[in-house]
């Protein structure tokens, strides 16, 4: 029986996804500021050939704004999930390798953070740090590390009692050496998949908090801001500022999720050889 080669499939998918994301990111940066300047002559146009996403109530081209917004979203996604994953790794390892008290404290904090709804906590942190990009990034990073930290902790605990690690210790290797040579290579793949899967969460939280007005400032062309503005005109029959940027955001998130899921499947030894 001939089976499709999953790894080749993944590679093609990953390359395609990365290509799309890089393209969106680059387009967002390359589009000149002029393209998003308003013109009242063009205000409130539905999608047409010269404005594929239409224009908003101030006459700004929505495709250009959406691309710029997605580019901001991707930046937020990468930075926030990167920082969050870094915290997860440190905390997870500290919890598993440290003393009993450290482990108890970490578990308590994880329960606490996970017990509060993410959006509420992000709002609070972002508000406390004066909104804007920094506050938002801090808020997202501070809330998204918990489940990955738990995963890391569990893996390290399980690995620590493995015979090959016991042998390594009795051959005189230090804790740091074992961490670097035995544990990190083992954690790497799961950590990578976890990191990629954090990305869509981070983006969606950025959009929702900005939508509520506690995230990015209104002059920034973020998807959350566009969606928030669109609400005012929805009753006037202007559907395109809400639907098209929203769909574009959803598209990016789904692509990312798909990539993470594929990574997990290939890196997981149970399904790796299928």
């Amino acid at each position: 029986m001939k089976r499709k080669n999953q790894r080749t499939k993944l590679l093609v998918l990953a390359a395609g996804l990365a290509g799309v994301l890089i393209l969106i990111y680059a387009l967002g940066l390359l589009i000149p500021e002029k393209a998003v300047e308003g013109s009242f002559l063009e205000a409130g146009r539905p999608p047409c050939l010269s404005h594929p996403f239409g224009t908003d109530a101030l006459g700004r081209d929505l495709l250009a704004r959406t691309l710029k917004g997605l580019s901001v979203s991707i930046t937020v996604g990468i930075v926030a999930s990167g920082v969050s994953a870094g915290i997860a790794l440190l905390v997870g390892i500290a919890s598993a390798m440290g003393s009993r008290q450290v482990d108890a404290a970490v578990n308590w904090i994880i329960d606490l953070v996970m017990g509060i709804p993410h959006t509420v906590l992000i709002l609070l942190i972002s508000f406390a740090l004066g909104r804007g990009m920094t506050g938002l990034l801090a808020g997202i990073a501070a809330t998204h590390w918990c489940s990955l930290a738990r995963l890391v902790r569990g893996e390290v605990l399980q690995q620590r009692s493995r015979p090959y690690i016991m042998v390594s210790r009795r051959l005189g290797k230090s804790g740091g050496w074992i961490l670097l040579h035995h544990l990190f290579p083992h954690l790497g793949p799961q950590f990578l998949a976890g990191l990629v899967l954090l990305f869509p969460h981070a983006i969606l939280h950025e959009a929702s908090v900005s939508f509520l007005g506690y995230g990015l400032p209104p002059e920034q062309p973020a998807i959350g801001i566009i969606l928030s503005e669109s609400m005012r005109y929805l009753s006037a029959g202007m559907w395109w500022p809400a639907v098209l940027p929203g769909a574009a955001l959803l598209g990016v998130v789904l692509l990312m999720d798909r990539l993470g899921e594929q990574l997990r499947r290939v890196l997981d030894p149970v399904t790796a050889q299928e």
Partner: protein
């Protein structure tokens, strides 16, 4: 000069029954002692205690009169029953051997290791081939005592004979003390200069 267990008690949790109760034994340098007993008599636990993988709840383990070090190379090395679990599956086997010091490629022949195996991963070799790596790793570490916990149980007879030939040759050369933990009566009789029966206590 001996590896000693002195009145050792061990149990896994505070509520569980003793796995080992007041267990004492001595293995002199240059001596090969067979420790026998059916499963459930704490053979593997004893092996782990002797090599410092676990610490006894009461009593002590002494190598040449000193307690086993908690850091640095241990003078007692344990070889386990399942080599697959004692080798990191993500490593090339060259790195596995390098864990016990600089690789001495000219000595590979003594351990029955082919040079081509060094660049493979554990999953690409059989249990018998991997066990040779575990034996080589333990012997090259410079340990004075070996604890062999059913190391040839899962192998075919010929590989078993090969591995023991290697171990015994090196043991004679370096005057090692060896604990052979096995349930195989014939093997115990063949290898051990004396036998310790765990059921006898």
């Amino acid at each position: 000069m001996a590896l000693e267990a002195k009145n050792v008690f061990f149990r896994y949790t505070r509520k569980s029954p003793w796995v080992l109760e007041d267990c004492s034994l001595t293995i002199e340098r240059g001596e090969c002692v067979a420790v026998t007993g059916p499963s459930g008599y704490g053979k593997t636990t004893l092996a782990r205690l002797l090599a410092g993988w676990q610490t006894p709840d009461k009593g002590e383990i002494l190598a040449d009169g000193k307690p086993l070090p908690t850091r640095g190379p241990c003078p007692v090395q344990l070889i386990c029953q399942h080599p697959q679990e004692a080798i990191n599956p993500r490593w090339k086997l060259r790195k596995v051997l390098e864990e016990s010091g600089k690789l001495q490629e000219d000595r590979l022949g003594e351990f029955g290791i082919e040079r081509a195996w060094l660049d493979r991963f554990a999953g690409e070799l059989s249990g018998g081939e991997l066990q040779r790596f575990c034996v080589a790793r333990a012997l090259l570490s410079g340990a004075d005592y070996l604890v062999c916990d059913e190391i040839s149980t899962m192998l075919d007879g010929i590989t078993q004979a090969q591995i023991w030939e290697t171990v015994l040759k090196e043991a004679k050369k370096r005057n090692l003390g060896i604990a052979v933990i096995t349930h195989n009566f014939h093997l115990a009789k063949k290898l051990g200069s004396r036998r310790i029966d765990l059921t006898a206590r």
